[in-house]
C-alpha cells in the first residue's frame, strides 16, 4: 500500500514555510540596516538609569567630564561652573577668573579638556585657557578668527565652525596652537543646499579619546565623521527620509539680516560621538511609533559609523514634564541634562559593544 504522497507534500509545505520566514527575516534585516526605510527598532532597556541629581537651575550645559567629575557651565551665569562628583554626588561651585574681563563678551562657552579648561566666545573673538587646579584663564587666542561654534578636542586643538570670508558660507575648521596658530579650514565637509549658512547648521561632536570629529545637520538626514585633521572619513544618512533641508528664508532686511519665514523642520536635535557609535536625538516619529512617547521622552538613534549601519533606538525619559535638553556619552556612561536635573545612565555592554 502506497502512502508516501502526503508525507512528501507535508515536507515540501513545511520546508517552504520555514524558508519563507527565513527569507523575510534576511530581507528585513538588510532593509533596516542599510536602507532608509524609516522604521526604528527598540530593544528592551539598553540603558539603565543610575540616578539623577537636582541642580536647582535649568540653565546648565555640559562642559566636560573627567572621572568622577562632570563639569557644568551655566548660560545665564557664564563664569560659574558646577562640578558634580558622580561617586559621592557632591556638587562644588566654582567661579572662573578670566584675563581680559572687560571685553564685550556675548556668548561664553566653557569646555573642559583635562587638565585644562577653555573659555570661548566667537563673537569677540577670544579663547582663554586655564588649569583645572586654580580655574584661572589666560588668553590663548584673540582676534585670530571669528567663529560661531567651538569645541576643544585636546589641549592644543579646537574644532570650530566659522563663516568663510570667500564664500560667506559656513565652514568647519581646526585651530591649532604649537608655536604659531594654525587655522585649517575644510570647505568640503559642509554642503550647501539653500544658503550655505542656515541650512548647514548643526551639531558639532567629538570623541576626544579617539580623536574623531563629527557633524550632524539639524535639517537633513545626514552626518559626517572626520579625523582630527578634518579629513572626511564618512558621509552617512540617518534613518530619516528628509534629505533636503526644508527652510524658507526671508530676503535681507534693513538690518542686513536674513530670517527664517517658517519654523524649519528639525531632523536631528542633539548628538554625541563615542568610539564607533554616534548617538542622535530626534523628535521625528518613524512608523508604528506612539506619538504620546514624545511628550515624556526623547528618541535616541544609535549608528555604527564604522560599519555604516543603524543599530537601534532607545527612549531617554524626561523628569517632571521636562525632556532631555542635551547629553553626552563618556565610556559606558550617558550623562544628560533634563530640566534642572542631571541624569546618569549606564549603557549595557551587550547593546553598545561591537
Amino acid at each position: 500500500m502506497e502512502f508516501k504522497g502526503p508525507y512528501i507534500r507535508l515536507s515540501v509545505v513545511g520546508c517552504l514555510s520555514v524558508a519563507a520566514v527565513i527569507l523575510l527575516f534576511l530581507l528585513s534585516e538588510n532593509q533596516i540596516h542599510r536602507n532608509n526605510a524609516f522604521t526604528r527598532r527598540y530593544p528592551h532597556h539598553p540603558t539603565t538609569k543610575l540616578f539623577d541629581i537636582p541642580l536647582g537651575f535649568d540653565s546648565y550645559y555640559l562642559a566636560g567630564y573627567d572621572e568622577p567629575f562632570v563639569y557644568l557651565g551655566n548660560t545665564t551665569a557664564p563664569k560659574h561652573i558646577v562640578r558634580v562628583n558622580l561617586r559621592s554626588k557632591d556638587t562644588t561651585h566654582i567661579r572662573v577668573q578670566m584675563e581680559n574681563e572687560e571685553l564685550p563678551y556675548k556668548f561664553i562657552q566653557i569646555k573642559v579638556v583635562k587638565p585644562y579648561f577653555f573659555v570661548m566666545d566667537g563673537t569677540v573673538p577670544i579663547i582663554l585657557k586655564g588649569s583645572l587646579r586654580n580655574w584661572k584663564a589666560d588668553t590663548w587666542m584673540k582676534d585670530e578668527a571669528f567663529f560661531s561654534s567651538a569645541l576643544p578636542i585636546d589641549t592644543q586643538t579646537i574644532y570650530v565652525r566659522t563663516i568663510s570670508s570667500k564664500t560667506n558660507e559656513s565652514v568647519l575648521g581646526v585651530v591649532e596652537k604649537n608655536e604659531n596658530f594654525l587655522v585649517d579650514m575644510n570647505p568640503n565637509v559642509l554642503e550647501r543646499q539653500v544658503d550655505g549658512v542656515f541650512d548647514v547648521d548643526g551639531i558639532m561632536v567629538s570623541d576626544n579619546a579617539n580623536q574623531k570629529l563629527g557633524y550632524v545637520y539639524y535639517y537633513r538626514n545626514e552626518f559626517m565623521i572626520m579625523d582630527r585633521d578634518l579629513k572626511l572619513m564618512k558621509r552617512l544618512h540617518t534613518v530619516d527620509t528628509i534629505h533636503k533641508a526644508r527652510l524658507e528664508l526671508s530676503e535681507i532686511n534693513s538690518h542686513g539680516e536674513i530670517q527664517m519665514n517658517k519654523p524649519p523642520l528639525m531632523v536631528n536635535k542633539w548628538a554625541a560621538l563615542s568610539r564607533n557609535l554616534l548617538f542622535i536625538q530626534s523628535d521625528r516619529l518613524g512608523k508604528y511609533e506612539p506619538k504620546e512617547m514624545l511628550e515624556k521622552a526623547s528618541i535616541v538613534d544609535v549608528y555604527d559609523w564604522e560599519n555604516e549601519t543603524y543599530e537601534f533606538s532607545f527612549y531617554l525619559y524626561g523628569i517632571l514634564d521636562e525632556k532631555p535638553r542635551e547629553f553626552n556619552v563618556y565610556g559606558d556612561l550617558l550623562i544628560s541634562l533634563i530640566g534642572s536635573h542631571l541624569a546618569v545612565y549606564r549603557l549595557k555592554p551587550e547593546h553598545f559593544e561591537d
Partner: protein, 150 residues
C-alpha cells in the same frame, strides 16, 4: 469500529481547537489593530514588512478558519494550518537565536507563556494539523481506491 470512532473524535477535536486558535488569533489582532501594527513594526525580525504583514497575518488566519469549516476544503485548511504554525515557530526560533533583542510577547492569553513554552505550544498544534492532513489524505486515498475499483 471503536478505533475509527476515536480517531474521528480526535480529528474533530483537533479541528475545533485549530478553529478556536485561529479565530482567537485573528480577532485579537483585528480588535487592537493599531497595537498589533506597533508590535509588528517593532518586532526585531520583520520590521521592514510590517506594513503588509499587519493585514496579511489576520486575513490568512481567517482564511484558514473558513477552509477548516467547509468540508471539501478541509484538507487545504489542515495544510495551511500546518504551514502557518511552522512559520510562526520559525519566527520564534529566529527571534530567540538571531535577534539583537527579544521583543515583549504576543497579545492575549499567550502573553503569560515564555518563549520556549510558546514553541512547545506551537509544535503541539503543528502535530494536530499533521494528524489532520494524514488522516484526511488517507481517507481521500481510500475513497480514490474505491472509485478506481482497486
Amino acid at each position: 469500529m471503536i478505533r475509527s470512532s476515536i480517531v474521528s473524535w480526535v480529528l474533530y477535536v483537533s479541528r475545533i481547537l485549530l478553529i478556536i486558535l485561529f479565530t482567537y488569533a485573528a480577532v485579537s489582532k483585528l480588535v487592537d489593530f493599531q497595537q498589533f501594527g506597533v508590535q509588528l513594526g517593532q518586532s526585531p525580525l520583520l520590521t521592514a514588512f510590517a506594513d503588509y504583514l499587519v493585514l496579511a497575518v489576520p486575513l490568512s488566519e481567517i482564511a484558514i478558519v473558513v477552509l477548516l469549516l467547509i468540508k471539501p476544503w478541509r484538507l487545504f485548511g489542515y495544510y495551511a494550518s500546518f504551514s502557518i504554525l511552522l512559520m510562526f515557530t520559525t519566527y520564534i526560533v529566529l527571534t530567540l537565536n538571531f535577534s539583537d533583542y527579544v521583543p515583549c510577547s504576543c497579545g492575549g492569553v499567550l502573553e503569560d507563556l515564555g518563549w520556549s513554552e510558546h514553541i512547545i505550544f506551537n509544535l503541539a498544534f503543528v502535530l494536530l494539523a499533521t494528524f489532520g492532513v494524514l488522516y484526511l489524505e488517507k481517507s481521500f486515498g481510500n475513497l480514490k481506491k474505491l472509485k478506481d475499483g482497486v
